[in-house]
């Protein structure tokens, strides 16, 4: 994805992760900024289904040619689904960070945490 984009229907964590929240569950991924900083993603091994994620804590890693980066959980909960398709094509994280490049789906343990996240405008502002 060549141009910076931050969809308005998502919520953002300052450590460059996004969350799409729906009915007590959320999908997580990394933002355009994160994938641009990393460069071409070469490897992603998803965490285990059933494992716990904690808001503000790292829950997995993304590996590019030049760096390995922790991915921070924007919200807390239990992982119910992981994106196994990324094993074959990790570069999808670069091409579609908000779509097919999603990382995990989580059942939220504390939906009120949502209020601490940024909206697209606030996140965009934080990047300057």
């Amino acid at each position: 994805m060549s141009d910076a984009s931050y969809p308005d229907d998502l919520l953002y964590h300052p450590e460059h992760d996004w969350a799409r929240v729906q009915d007590g569950a959320a999908t997580f991924g990394i933002t355009w900024f994160a994938q641009d900083a990393l460069g071409e993603v070469v490897f992603f091994e998803p965490p285990d289904v059933g494992s716990t994620v904690t808001k503000d804590e790292p829950y997995t890693e993304v590996e590019s040619v030049k760096a390995v980066s922790d991915v921070i959980a924007p919200l807390s909960g239990e992982i119910v689904e992981v994106n196994n398709g990324l094993a074959e094509n990790p570069e999808t994280i670069n091409d579609e960070p908000y779509g097919k490049g999603w990382l995990v789906k989580v059942k939220l343990s504390d939906p009120d945490e949502v209020s601490s996240l940024l909206d697209a405008a606030a996140y965009r502002a934080s990047l300057i």
């Binding site: 460069g39 071409e40 070469v42 490897f43 590996e63 040619v65 030049k66 990790p90 570069e91």
Partner: protein, 499 residues
């Protein structure tokens, strides 16, 4: 189909059934069936599929391969932090002397006195250069010496009944340092640097507490700048009872000028493949001896080379001392990379005190000259020095203005340099400088080489002003052009598939 001389085949692809180079010596003992000596169930059914080639083919293959390498004997190699200085040719001659090269490591010490004396003398010389008297030659490389430093620190604190958990290291530290710290069982805590490029003393004071085991530093720093506050740094670190570790990667700037021991460092490691001319070999071998203060001495690796004067007029003897109850133990087999010691020892004997000082003086002179010359050549507008100070033996430029205004990055600049027959400087290190370019010319380069390099950089920038695409798609004249590193990492192919 005609095959070019540079066909790029691997030695396995040249293999042809029945070809051979090795001729076995004649079997002069009873030809007992192998099954009687090594039962079939212990043996492999198929031999390893090594190539089948003749000697002329092997020689031609590796000769051709060698011509695809750029090397220091051929051209300028200003890799920051690597000290690519000339490798004196005498050193290969002395290292090949059978008395050195064909000496078994387990030979009895009394039958290896030449080797042990050489090691002892080298220890003394390194101790003198560092300003710390106790030296171990055992570590195999710089990063190994760093691991030794961390383990020594751990042993020191544990011997005092203390369980510290953190090691401080500046943001600019070489990549090896944080990895070493983790392997030593400590947590890395970063210390910031100030606007002048030195360790931020306020940040250090805030982070230095009784839980800190060590501060790992190099001086000059990886920015090529001398830590002017080094004595205060030592005071803060020692004040909380921690050790101060010196990464010797930048020793080339200060030999005979000042000494890490005098600055307050407890542990110093040397890279014999940097300041002490061990050839880099395309990525090793090297050696990473360490020098330590009195309080760290008891924990040095085992064995230590010692000198004994029995006082009966026979002269000193040299030995390997294993009786070291507080030692951290072994870091590797045998005594260390002796072949490297021979070369570095020859170097130190060739130069002496005056020569070593001259090395650092000219290394620093050359670096400052090149920095000034780049300014004169108009390069500074696009590649300004990261810090506006006199540098030491290396300096860091930032390609951020170049990226903004000319649309080419430090990477592109480096790739285009390949077409001009020089090795690029270190790129994208240290991480604190955007689009970093770290340049270390060393003392063995002529003024003309430095002038030429400045011209090359200026030329590439001129080109980029006309057409940035030239650098972006460079190199053009090298054996291969830009390589796809992403797919190499995504789907690694790290050996030849064989049928």
């Amino acid at each position: 189909m005609i095959r070019s001389a540079d066909d790029g085949l691997t030695i396995f692809e040249r293999s042809k059934r029945g070809r051979r180079a090795f001729v076995a010596p004649e079997l002069d003992v009873p030809d007992v069936p192998l099954d009687e000596l090594l039962p079939a169930e212990l043996r492999r059914r198929e031999p390893p599929r090594l190539p089948e080639v003749s000697e002329p083919e092997i020689v031609r293959h590796y000769n051709r391969l060698s011509k695809r390498n750029f090397d220091l004997d051929t051209g300028f190699y200003p890799l920051g932090s690597c000290t690519m200085k000339h490798n004196p040719k005498l050193h290969e001659r002395v290292a090949a002397l059978p008395g050195h090269a064909k000496l078994h490591p387990l030979q009895h010490p009394r039958r290896a006195q030449g080797a042990l004396e050489l090691m002892w003398n080298l220890q003394q010389a390194l101790g003198e250069i560092a300003g710390l008297p106790h030296v171990s030659l055992q570590p195999s490389a710089g990063s190994h010496g760093e691991l030794a430093g961390v383990l020594l620190t751990r042993a020191y604190h544990e011997d005092r009944g203390e369980q510290r958990t953190k090691v401080l290291t500046p943001d600019t530290a070489h990549g090896t340092n944080p990895a070493t710290v983790t392997m030593g069982g400590y947590e890395v805590v970063k210390v910031g640097i100030d606007a002048r490029g030195n360790v931020d003393l306020d940040d250090l004071r805030a982070k230095a507490d009784a839980d800190v085991a060590c501060l790992m530093l190099t001086n000059p720093s990886t920015l090529g700048l001398f830590e002017t506050g080094i004595e205060e740094i030592a005071g803060i670190v020692h004040g909380v009872g921690a050790t101060l570790y010196y990464d010797g990667a930048n020793l080339n700037a200060i030999m005979g000028i000042c000494r890490p021991g005098d600055m307050g460092f407890d542990i110093v490691h040397f890279n014999l493949h940097k300041s002490f001319t061990q050839p880099h070999g395309g990525g090793g071998p090297g050696a990473g001896p360490i020098a330590v203060s009195d309080r760290i001495e008891p924990y040095l690796p085992r064995p230590q080379v010692v000198r004994r004067d029995d006082g009966n007029g026979d002269g000193p003897t040299f030995d390997l001392d294993y009786d070291r109850p507080k030692s951290i133990g072994r870091l590797r087999g045998f005594q260390g990379n002796y072949g490297v010691f021979v070369r570095s020892y020859a170097y130190i004997r060739s130069l002496g005190a005056v020569g070593l000082r001259e090395v650092s003086e000219v290394a620093v002179l050359n670096a400052n000259y090149l920095l000034a010359k780049l300014r004169t050549a108009g390069v500074a507008e696009y590649l300004p020095a990261a810090y506006d100070r006199i540098c030491m033996h290396e300096f860091v430029l930032s390609g951020a203005p170049m990226k903004r205004e000319l649309g080419i990055r430090t990477l592109d600049l480096a790739k285009r340099m390949l077409d001009f027959g020089v090795h690029p400087p270190t790129v994208y290190f240290p991480l604190v400088v955007e689009e970093a370019l770290m340049v270390e010319p060393t003392e063995t380069e002529t003024k003309e080489t430095l002038d030429n390099f400045a011209e090359i950089v200026a030329e590439i920038l001129r080109e980029a002003r006309e057409d940035p695409e030239i650098a972006r798609a460079a190199p053009y004249t090298t054996p291969v052009r830009r390589l796809d590193e992403a797919s190499a990492a995504r789907k690694p192919v790290i050996r030849q598939a064989l049928s």
